[in-house]
């Protein structure tokens, strides 16, 4: 099973969309809230070089934003 992490904020509509999409496809993921949580934020910046959300990490590969085609390709769904 793929290791999936979603870096998100509670207020971002695209983050909600990514999470509900993964749930819909029964993909287990770890949600990392980066809002005001400096550890989570620094981790996101380190792995992705990004300061925008959502960032999805699948088996170490970084996908920026809600890019359904890339997520599907990476997960093979």
């Amino acid at each position: 099973m793929a290791n999936v992490k979603v870096f998100s904020t509670p207020t971002c509509p695209y983050c909600t969309r990514v999470k509900s999409y993964l749930q819909e496809k029964h993909i287990a993921f770890e949600n990392i809230d980066v809002a005001g949580v400096q550890n989570g934020l620094q981790y996101m910046i380190n792995v992705s070089g990004q300061m925008g959300v959502p960032v999805v990490m699948i088996d170490g590969d970084v996908i920026v934003g809600f890019d359904k085609d890339k997520i599907d390709a990476k997960l093979g769904i």
Binding site: T9, T11, P13, A35, G49, M51, V64, G65
Partner: protein, 304 residues
């Protein structure tokens, strides 16, 4: 071929979907997202029936309402182009996405608007690396950091009001001599000790290495550099109207509609912020979506 395709699922598209379902029209909805700009709004305080609701919650209500009906909805598909074809049965339309072409006897374009890009050096390169076009989305990432909001209208004021609660300092960089926007929001922004309003200032460049570190301005001919980590751009929007080239548009590229939401092409209707209706409001867009379906319903009846 379906009778109607609705392009977009913001307030105009979703309301059109609800009306079309209730009219039992054979229709399809195609949209790259649900909610459009409404989903990116922070607080909505002028949608009748809700004294206060967030954009995200209002979109959830819209979606719930739409999904009450068995609607054929293609989400996450972006319409690339709308074309026209003729056959012995008359004119019909082809709505193309990256996946496939869809055919319909009529189309409602409710594709909304997207942000106007700042287009200075560093804007594109630093997007998601400090430059953001959505304070609602990315704002919380800039907790206790220094940020700038670029703009001077309601959207910029809304972004400043959000960032005042999160950032350690907020510069508001306004190209005009004074702020526009609602007085009630202006007062809140101007009375905050966290906010510094810089009027008459042109943004020249966004600087940084891996992430944004500074912004270069020019104020009355004098160059100025501000050290910061985040730049939120709110300088207006442009209509998503380039998907069609055979309807009349105004100088701002908005699709021209009459009071029945008809465009210059029979069978093509438009509603919401993509049109030349001057009031860009959620409730106005919703009403326009309803009108467009009733217009399309009449048009389809005429074809039979």
């Amino acid at each position: 071929m379906v009778d109607l395709i609705i392009v977009g699922a913001g307030p105009a598209g979703i309301t059109a979907g609800v009306y079309a379902a209730r009219k039992k029209i054979d229709f399809l909805m195609i949209s790259e997202d649900i909610g459009g700009q409404t989903g990116l709004s922070a607080d909505v305080e002028n949608y009748t029936g809700y004294q206060f609701i967030t954009g995200t919650e209002l979109v959830a209500k819209f979606e719930e309402h739409l999904k009450q009906f068995n609607v054929k909805l293609k989400v996450d598909e972006t319409v690339k182009r709308i074309g026209k074809a003729s056959s012995t049965f008359g004119t019909h339309f082809i709505v193309e996405t990256a996946k496939e072409p869809y055919e319909a006897k009529s189309v409602i374009i409710a594709s909304g608007r997207r942000p106007r890009w700042l287009n200075v050096k560093g804007d594109e390169g630093f997007r998601n690396k400090g430059v953001s076009y959505c304070a609602t989305c990315d704002g919380p990432v800039f907790s206790n950091k220094v940020v700038a909001v670029i703009g001077g209208g309601n959207a910029a004021l809304d972004a400043v009001l959000q960032m005042m609660k999160i950032a350690s300092k907020v510069y508001l960089i306004n190209i005009n001599p004074a702020l526009a926007g609602d007085p009630i929001m202006r007062d809140k922004v101007e009375s905050s000790n966290k906010v510094e309003v810089i009027n008459n200032a042109v943004t020249k460049e966004i600087l940084g290495a891996q992430l944004v570190t500074a912004i270069k301005l020019e104020q009355a001919g004098v160059a100025r550099e501000l050290a910061l980590q985040g730049v939120f751009v709110e300088i207006g929007s442009v209509p998503n109207s380039s998907i069609i080239d055979f309807v009349k548009k105004n100088n701002s590229n908005e699709i021209i509609v009459d009071n029945l939401n008809r465009t210059s092409e029979p069978g093509i209707f438009a509603a919401g912020d993509v049109t030349d209706i001057p009031e860009k409001q959620i409730i106005v867009a919703a009403g326009e979506g309803a009108k467009a379906v009733l217009g399309a319903f009449r048009y389809l009846a005429g074809l039979r």
